[in-house]
Amino acid sequence: MTDGPAAQVTVDRDLCVSSGMCESLAPAVFEIDDDGELVVLQDVVQDALLADAQAAARSCPTRALTVT
């Protein structure tokens, strides 16, 4: 189940505006905390979470996320 390729999630803090798009697509990976800051809950993702994180990176309105 967890044998697929893994990837690193990074946030460019200068670009992030906490729109929360990533959290709505990948709530297990991203969370906007009570201070409005984006928290990466898992910075290495695999399998289903990898797909979710990639979808979140593609949908980020400020292109602040990379999953590589």
């Binding site: 505006v17 906490s18 929360g20 798009m21 709505s24 009570d34 409005g36 309105p61 400020t62 292109r63």
Partner: protein, 424 residues
Amino acid sequence: MSMTLPEVDTIDLSDPEFWALLPHEIEAAFAALRRHDTIPFYAEPEIPFLPVGPGYYVLTRHADVDAASSQPALFCSGEGAVSIADLPEELREFYGSLISMDDPRHAKIRRIVSKAFTPRRLESLIANVETLTDEILARARALAEAGDGTFDLVKEISSPLPLKIICRMMGIAEQDHALVLEQSNVILSGGDPEIMTDPEQVIVLVLEAGAALAGIVQRLAEERLENPTDDLTTALVRTDVDGESLTAQEIASFFILLCVAGNETTRNAISQGVWALHEHPEQKARWLADPSLTKTAVEEIVRWASPVRWMRRTATQDLELHGQQFARGDKFLLFYSSANRDETVFTDPQVFDVGRSPNPHFGFGAPGPHFCLGANLARREVTVAFQKLFEQMPDLEVVGEPDRLRSSFVNGIKRLPVRLTGRT
């Protein structure tokens, strides 16, 4: 679907009459502009008491809108985002919030308010949205049943839903809701002759509307400083940006932005959505038969409606776009509504398709720091509105043409006559 396209030189986006054309005529004009290689330039419409500026360029292609929106260092918002004319100081005070601000200040303030709009915070609002929608639909049904079965969808359903939600988030008292609605209508009327009977009065009326909204929120802000609650106004008064708190004026401007942006947009998405489903009954049947289409259907309604047609950007330096040279200070209108019909990006863009996927629309703005703060909230409101309409008003039918707002900025419907038949 084939359209007869007008000659590009016959199109004048600054002519108020252009915005009184029928939707398919407006769309045909933009289709012609998208196919035309040169980025068009227009003289600015005249507004009493404002100096007429140098004119503006219009971006109609998805790729060009994307390029301008995602390069905020080259295409700034700080010179104005919601008005073609540069606004005089007095107006900028009221209408100079986040949307007309650049980073780094924009980013700092946005971060403070964005926590109220995250998916998690919105989860706790869902029950609220659902209960409110139930109440609104029940009231509309009672009104219809007490009369001949007809009512105005905009007045009874599309307007109150987003208004009451944004007012509750801010903590605005129930008795002020009607005033908020009325004043935000004035601000976004775009000079529609029904709302602005005297064009000479546009600036005065817009200023008065801003002052009325500012009055409500300044009173509320003072109260919240004394007695904090968990509403957004409390968050705004108690926040600090680099050791500085927001001024009363900044809080008022932000509130005006929220009232206007949080009301008109969702209202028009709901009204335009009901009209689109009426015009495309096969799409309505398809959605009703398969509720798993809700997510794509809501996105398609936003693409189709494009409630905010454009935002402005200003070149911060000499630059090149689509092979054309531009100078520092040149103004651009980014037409999201046109990008959302771009034939090179969307398959059959003139087709309303509740299952459309992918759907990379710019209905919430294009990529960049100003992407709609309320996108998650708006999706939630539109989703709940249609779920509840299907569930509680399966007998709703549209019985007349929509009465459209004559504005380049907002793709608005002022009235949409509907009827409850009592049959399901």
